[in-house]
Amino acid sequence: MRISKRLVIIALPALLLFAALYAFRLPGQAGPLPAPSARPAAVDSTKCIATKEFMRANHMRVLYEWRNSSVRDGNRVHIASNGSRFDKSLNTCLGCHSNNRLFCFNCHMYANVKPKCWNCHLSPMETP
């Protein structure tokens, strides 16, 4: 394949210019900040936030997402696909699931994963 000389001569400086301008671009405007109002989330801890199959495969992603958006952005309310609202907190899950003290540990031991949650958060084993 042959690229014409003229194309290279025009495209190369243009590309360079673009790259340089991109490097010097102005910092993007952050989105609107969440309203810092006190809003107690209507916690619905009688239901699960998603199906059992989804949570089995993706609970770590959900918790990761919850942790970042609640701690860093202050966005504390999770709206499930069916419209019910949950407080983005590990305690929302443990509200029901700590009934089984081995709820987390059984699978994690079997899969030999060692998440660091319980270094700080109270695990179902420790709650009275």
Binding site: L16, P36, P40, G74, C120, H121, L122
Partner: protein, 258 residues
């Protein structure tokens, strides 16, 4: 590649660089580093919340430690009974330690002997958040200097940066030193820095911070510094107040009536 094209590319490249250099000189926003000086007063944008606290040292009782006990219980702050490992969120300092740069010449003995409640100042221009390499400590939308313990790597740059000594490091596993743990708040782990969070977990629920609530003499006032109608702003309006080390330009959100 023939000679003509090579020289053309070289000239174009130099031209682009020269153009950018000129642009960065002419348009200040193009310069590589921000060199704008911090505003020394009223930095936070009006309209957004900026939480602040006012400590009335006149009514704060000398022997009372209610707020300290309440805060340290609510937030599972460990007590190692040892100055080296000490972890503190809120504590009492003698006047000359709290305001080391304030004039003490001919100061009344009573004021000199007063102990002042000290905590994280939640500075508007917080040096700790600027020092943190992992953004584990960051400035929240409501003016609170928050910690994300998940991200803290324990480098302690923030402790070196904080001019108020408001940060403590967990040299040991804190769990062994928590006598009466609270189940409503997590603990920390060994190797992270911790500090006052202005009770952000209580603010979400619409409650006042634990220290403010526990004070028997109502010496602490908490509120929005950006709201001219708030109680704290009215008190600031009507009283002579001080901030800790104001000359550093950190714009603390904790004020004192002496």
């Amino acid at each position: 590649m023939n000679e003509q094209r090579r020289s053309f590319i070289r000239k174009t490249g130099l031209g682009v660089l020269a153009g950018l250099g000129a642009a960065s000189g002419l348009i200040p926003q193009f310069s590589l580093e921000k060199t704008t000086l911090p505003a020394w007063d009223d930095k936070p944008v009006a309209g957004k919340i900026r939480w602040g606290m006012l400590v009335d040292t006149r009514t704060c009782q000398e022997s009372c430690r209610e707020c300290v006990l309440k805060c340290h219980h609510v937030h599972n702050v460990p007590d190692f009974r040892n100055r080296k490992d000490e972890v503190k969120w809120i504590w009492k300092s003698p006047y000359e330690k709290a305001f080391p740069t304030a004039s003490r010449q001919f100061l009344s003995k009573e004021t000199r002997g007063r102990s002042c409640l000290t905590l994280c100042n939640h500075c508007a221009e917080s040096p700790c958040t600027k020092a943190c390499p992992t953004e584990a400590t960051f400035k929240r939308w409501d003016g609170i200097v928050a910690m994300d313990y998940h991200r803290c790597i324990g480098c302690r740059f923030c402790m070196a940066a904080c001019p108020y000594g408001s940060r403590s490091f967990n040299w040991q596993d804190p769990r062994i030193a928590i006598k009466n743990p609270s189940t409503d708040y997590p603990t920390r782990m060994q190797g992270v820095v911790e500090k006052c969070n202005f009770c952000s977990e209580r603010l979400v629920k619409g409650l006042q911070p634990a220290c403010v609530e526990s004070c028997p003499n109502k010496a602490l006032t908490f509120g929005d510094l950006n709201d001219p109608e708030s109680e704290i702003r009215k008190l600031l309006e009507n009283n002579q107040t001080m901030q800790r080390k104001p000359e550093l330009g950190t714009l603390p959100s904790v004020f004192y009536i002496i």
